[in-house]
């Protein structure tokens, strides 16, 4: 079986060396959820500057999806769910 990470519990395939952003976008996930009542998270600048694509990582600190290599079994979700039950 190929490598997968999990977005809101849904398995997302990725290729070796690919970023989280590349994997999510290929799966058609453009809206990365809402931190509060603001606009949803999204990949925007692609270079870690805008912080628009920061996602929650179960068991670790949030990361910029555009900078961070995907890893097998990573459990990710939108920002408001820090500590919430998606791990």
């Amino acid at each position: 079986m190929s490598s997968h990470l999990f977005w809101n519990g849904v398995p997302i395939a990725f290729e070796p060396g690919e970023t989280i952003a590349a994997a999510l976008l290929r799966a058609g996930i453009v809206d990365l959820g809402r931190p509060d009542d603001g606009p949803g998270g999204r990949v925007f600048c692609g270079i870690g500057a805008c912080q628009g694509c920061v996602v929650t990582v179960a068991g670790a600190a949030p990361v910029e999806a555009c900078l961070t290599p995907a890893r097998d079994g990573l459990r990710l979700g939108p920002l408001p769910w820090i500590g919430a039950d998606h791990g």
Partner: protein, 429 residues
Amino acid sequence: MAEVPILVVGGGPAGASAAATLVEAGLRVLLIEQRDRLGGAIHRQTASGAESPVWRPARHRRNWAALTARLGAAAERIDIRTQTVFLGVDGEGRFLFEDRRSERVLARRPRAAIIAVGAIETIRPFPGWELPGVMTVGGAQVLLKETGRPPAGPVLIAGSGPLLPALAAQLARAGNPPVAVLERGRPWRAPGALARLILSGGPTGEAASYAAVLAAHRVPYRCGASALRAEPDGDGLKVACRIGTSEQSLHVRHLLIHDGIVPNRTGIPLPAPEAAVPVLQAGDGREALGADAAILDGRRAALQVLARLGHASTAGAASLERPLQRARDFQAALAEALHSARVAPSPETLICRCEGRSYADLAALAEDASAREIRLMGRFGLGACQGRLCGPMIEALRAQPLPATSSPRWPLRPVSVAALARLTADETE
């Protein structure tokens, strides 16, 4: 005790060139890069390590091969730390980084530092720019370089600058030509600037090849055209565009925007020139002159550091002024050719996405508001991006540089308390 290294932040062309120049002079270098590989946005390699299917000028390939060979030749004097994010300088003058692999913060005291963190793209805000599905042209290009795959579904490119047709041609070659390219400027109204561009010996061949690809794929390239607003529409976006004097609506999956680049200076601490630990900026992070000039500028910064440390005369750095001036002249001609008058955005237009602040909120501030007032009363630039994105927009909208805040504070990026708690200082203290 080991020789204290010189710090280079950023593994793009400027940082790699600076690092190579320093190690060739016999010094040790600590090179920090936020990504898992060197290259920067311009030389982003494919995730798989395979040859990139994305077309790009041969000189970029050659330049990067030459830089990596130089770094490789002195590998024993370079400590390259990838996936390591620069956090700033603390009150005791220590440079702080987060090693994202081990999730710990490192503190180092280098002999000197060269900060080469590149440029960031600017945009001219319009209602809806903040929506998911809207991305920068450069961000989309980095993704294309990494994956070799264009984004799925209809793509519209809007804004201004040479990156628009470049990415449009790359997307077309990769199998998804954009529905249109909307260039805000009207270059034929600036024939003098156009003539200077052509006579400058700049990459006119590159421009011609992009034009040929766009023509072959029937991608409309419209000048004097812009995106006016975007709104969610099914699984994509409805984008209202002005093309000439008419307005039309396009349904797309992705809207890619870009209005030039500016140096990424937010939070970079620059001490007085005579400080004991010199800190210099290099490349697009100092002055946005493009990838070729960044290699020269990285070398220049390294030669300046060598001169400061008594390893070289200042003549070497000075000899790079002329080619840098040519790059500056080229960028100035380009800016003049594509110049377009600024129109104030509508009041509801979001300016600061992090804090949800609109143009009406900005306009409500006093005309002579200080940077502190803009931040503390307006809440602009207080969010996660630290004003990297809205800062240039606010400068442009107020038509004046933002007054400087007090000395920059770390961290430049959000960092976890757990990583800070695992801070390791270096043994040289």
